[in-house]
């Protein structure tokens, strides 16, 4: 067999493979046959109560380790617990720069941002948090970001005119918090401070709305010693992120919560087993998050959960890359992912394989919560609003 790649056929194959598998394994039906069973959330009261949680299933996950048939054993929680309740999009493309910070920033603004991936700079366009708070007149306590990497500390808000500092989300960096709480003594906690291979040295000075250590107690009602004790029971930075996110849900109940997962980006070190381990952990954490939503009266019944990778990773067959290790080629596998939506206002057990873009996320959330995302280049996903 010669190794040849035909990008169009790969894209189509990826989407079909995911669709066919989900139709069988997770009992999902094609969307066109299911238009009549939408439990849409209607009315102003319902909309005011509605909450949205976004999880970026990152950094960078390919089909073949997730929803493709050969990857299904890595995601038992999403497959058997979440997918049957979800509307699933098999073909989400990211046409932007495939770096984690810049891609996540693009997800939050609905514009393919072009900022330096390794700089501590805010997005160039207003974020979903700024639109949300400004148009709906929501307090700062209603929009939060939990991100594991220090490089994400500016993702909560832009510096745009009429938006900007103080109008976006508060950003919690659990690893930063842990370092601060430990005051340099991180014995037995180093595994939670593990950074990805590409940026072990990237620790920009923090500025903007990042969460301060003093707020552990005032907002999360958590003493430093309790935080440290619990941290010692966890095994990875993403587990720490989930712990903080669930605590936030209990104490602040934000209406817009954004959680960025990152463990699987250990793939850059070239160790396939560690990459797969990261995916399996993130799958478990997504299942736990959904259980936490159901167990919390503030969230149960009125929350929409959106899960999507920031992008994929390079194909095994692209000669310019080295397979799963990186996301540098810009090939179809690295640009094509999926999105799962479940909860309030979402049809259950439906899948769509018509292409949508990752920048469609912000206007879609806007349509769900009742604000416009005027500067976004995306379009609301009609199947979700």
């Amino acid at each position: 067999m010669n190794i040849a790649t035909n990008e169009q056929s790969i894209a189509l194959g990826v989407s079909r493979s995911r669709r066919d598998f989900l139709r069988g394994a997770a009992h999902l039906a094609l969307g066109s046959s299911m238009m009549s069973i939408s439990p849409l959330v209607r009315g102003e009261t319902a909309r005011k109560k509605r909450k949205v949680i976004v999880v970026t299933f990152g950094g960078g996950a390919r089909d073949q380790e997730t929803f493709a048939p050969e990857g299904q054993h890595n995601i038992p929680h999403m497959l058997s617990e979440l997918a049957p309740q979800s509307t699933f999009f098999t073909h989400v493309t990211n046409q932007g720069i495939l770096g984690h910070y810049v891609a996540t920033a693009s997800l939050t603004t609905g514009v393919y941002e072009t900022l330096n991936n390794f700089s501590a700079v805010p997005p160039d366009h207003p974020t979903v948090f700024e639109y949300f708070r400004k148009e709906l007149k929501r307090p700062s306590s209603d929009a939060w970001v939990v991100a594991p990497s220090n490089g994400f500390n500016r993702i909560g808000e832009s510096e745009c005119k009429n938006f900007g500092p103080g109008t976006g989300a508060t950003v919690i960096l659990p690893k930063h918090l842990l370092s601060a709480a430990a005051r340099g003594g991180t014995a037995n906690l180093d595994h939670l401070l593990r950074d990805n291979y590409e940026s072990p040295l990237f620790t920009p000075s923090l500025a903007g709305g990042e969460f301060q250590i003093q707020q552990l107690e005032s907002i999360l009602r958590l003493s430093v010693s309790d935080f440290m004790s619990h941290a010692r029971t966890l095994s990875s930075p993403d587990e720490l992120s989930l712990y903080i996110a669930v605590r936030l849900m209990q104490e602040e109940a934000p209406s817009l919560l954004w959680i960025t997962m990152h463990d699987m980006d250990v793939a850059h070190s070239g160790a396939y087993s560690l990459y797969v381990e990261g995916i399996r952990r993130t799958d478990r954490l997504c299942g736990e998050l959904w259980k936490a939503v159901q167990a919390n009266p503030e969230y149960a019944g009125n929350t929409t959960l959106l899960i999507l990778p920031d992008f994929g990773r390079d194909s095994d067959l692209d000669p310019g890359g080295n397979g799963f290790q990186h996301h540098r080629t810009g090939d179809v596998a690295s640009r094509t992912t999926w999105m799962m939506a479940l909860g309030a206002g979402i049809k259950q057990g439906v899948l769509y394989d018509s292409p949508i873009q990752s920048i469609d996320l912000v206007p879609t959330i806007g349509a769900m919560l009742g604000f416009s995302a005027a500067q976004s280049n995306g379009r609301p996903v009609k199947e979700l609003v």
Binding site: D190, R194, Y197, P200, H268, N322, D331
Partner: protein, 402 residues
């Protein structure tokens, strides 16, 4: 500066053979679009330290371009000519720093959404070159062997999943003396078809022995170079303003001399080993990554007839800063995780082998070391089949190479 303004004297810093090559084909370089010229020079600047197969490829490329008519060149370069670059990049000293240029070009292409167009142009250009290149007959069937799973006594996930549809799974092999049988077989091949850098033995631990006629490289043998590289990385990390991109650029500019390494007498191999460490992510910290990346680069660059790649257990995952500091006195190993790494690595070994000439006749064998299962991809064996024939590794290889 644009390529049309190039002059021979601007290449005075190039090593002698590279300089002579540029002088010989100056007219070709002058005709290249700015988005392509530095990328070709990136290869040419290292010409003196490249493997014979790489030098032959560069020669072929330049010879092919030299005989194209003006109209043909316009057609070949159309995709690259449509890429726009800022003055800052065209003014850059891309003659002497083509690597740095291509990194900055890459960042610019991403930020201006031109990466897809560049990728398309490069793919089309490469396809044209391939079509224009005369294929040579190989002296032997190409052979790849991956020995995986050293130290992993148990494994509860299925192995060889990516390759099973391409070859035959053997489930009742006699593993006794297996590694030595494989080494002896590749040694015999190397002696029967001697070729400079044509036969390789790569080991993720220590070399079992140094087989005659093979180029040998191991994670243990590059230990001192690896330690120096990690020290260099640590020093860089502590430099104010350092970031991943600058670190990568600085590592790419590293030479054995700059790293304080004594010459082994084979500068081509010394430079290759250094590039494995300076350009491969994770090769400095995980032996499994080292074997996978080295195998990939040997196949891509040296186009050998034979590679025996043996994986060894890598160290357990620790915080990345700690891994890079190389500080732990007692290394804890992860044999199970390493087996999974190597299983994927062997798949990539096969894929990279299939990119080369003679792919339809090539043979690939992956064996779980010390165990009775192996998978063989060979034109002489059925695909997607299973065999319970009892035989040793030497007999299996003979069967595959028929």
């Amino acid at each position: 500066m644009l390529p049309s303004e190039l002059k021979s004297e601007q290449f005075s810093e190039y090593p002698p053979r590279a300089r002579a090559l540029v002088a010989q084909y100056m007219e070709v370089f002058q005709a290249l679009p700015i988005s392509l010229a530095p990328n070709l020079l990136r290869e040419v600047i290292d010409y003196d330290y490249k493997f014979p197969a790489e030098r032959a490829r560069i020669d072929d490329e330049l010879k092919t371009l030299a005989v194209l008519s003006k109209q043909e060149r316009q057609e070949w370069f159309r995709g690259f000519a449509s890429i726009s670059l800022p003055e800052k990049l065209t003014q850059f000293d891309w003659v002497n720093e083509p690597v740095k240029f291509s990194e900055q070009q890459s960042a610019y292409l991403w930020s201006t959404h031109q990466m897809d167009a560049f990728r398309k142009a490069a793919t089309e250009y490469y396809a044209r070159l391939q079509r224009a290149t005369v294929k040579t007959q190989l002296a032997l069937q190409r052979l790849g062997i991956a020995v995986i799973g050293q130290g992993a006594d148990e494994y509860d996930e299925p192995l060889f999943q990516n390759l099973k549809n391409h070859g035959t799974l053997f489930s009742r092999l006699n593993p006794e003396n297996g590694l030595e049988l494989l080494l002896a077989a590749v040694e015999k091949r190397a002696q029967s078809a001697s070729a400079e850098y044509g036969h390789w033995y790569i080991d993720g631990g220590h070399l079992v022995r140094n087989p005659q006629g093979l180029t040998c490289i191991s994670y243990a043998s590059i230990g001192p170079m690896r330690a120096e590289m990690l020290k260099f990385m640590q020093k860089e990390i502590q430099t104010p303003g350092m970031g991943p991109e600058r670190l990568r650029t600085d590592m790419a500019a590293m030479t054995p001399k700059k790293l304080g390494m004594a010459s082994s007498g084979d500068e081509v191999l010394d430079r290759f080993q250094l590039k494995v460490l300076s350009e491969g992510s994770g090769t400095q910290i995980f032996s499994t990554t080292f074997v996978q990346w080295t195998t990939r680069e040997v196949l891509r660059r040296a186009e050998p007839l034979t590679i025996l790649a043996r994986y060894a257990p890598r160290q357990r995952q620790r915080p990345m800063n700690e891994l890079l500091s190389n500080s732990s006195s007692e290394e804890q190993l992860d044999p199970k995780g390493s087996l999974m790494d190597a299983d994927m690595g062997s798949y990539y070994h096969w894929i990279n082998q299939q990119r080369l000439d003679g792919y339809d006749k090539s043979v690939f064998l992956v064996w779980w070391e010390g165990h009775n299962s192996a998978l063989v991809v060979s034109p002489s064996l059925p695909r997607g089949a299973t065999s319970s024939t009892v035989m040793d590794l030497g007999e299996l290889l003979k069967l595959a190479l028929v």
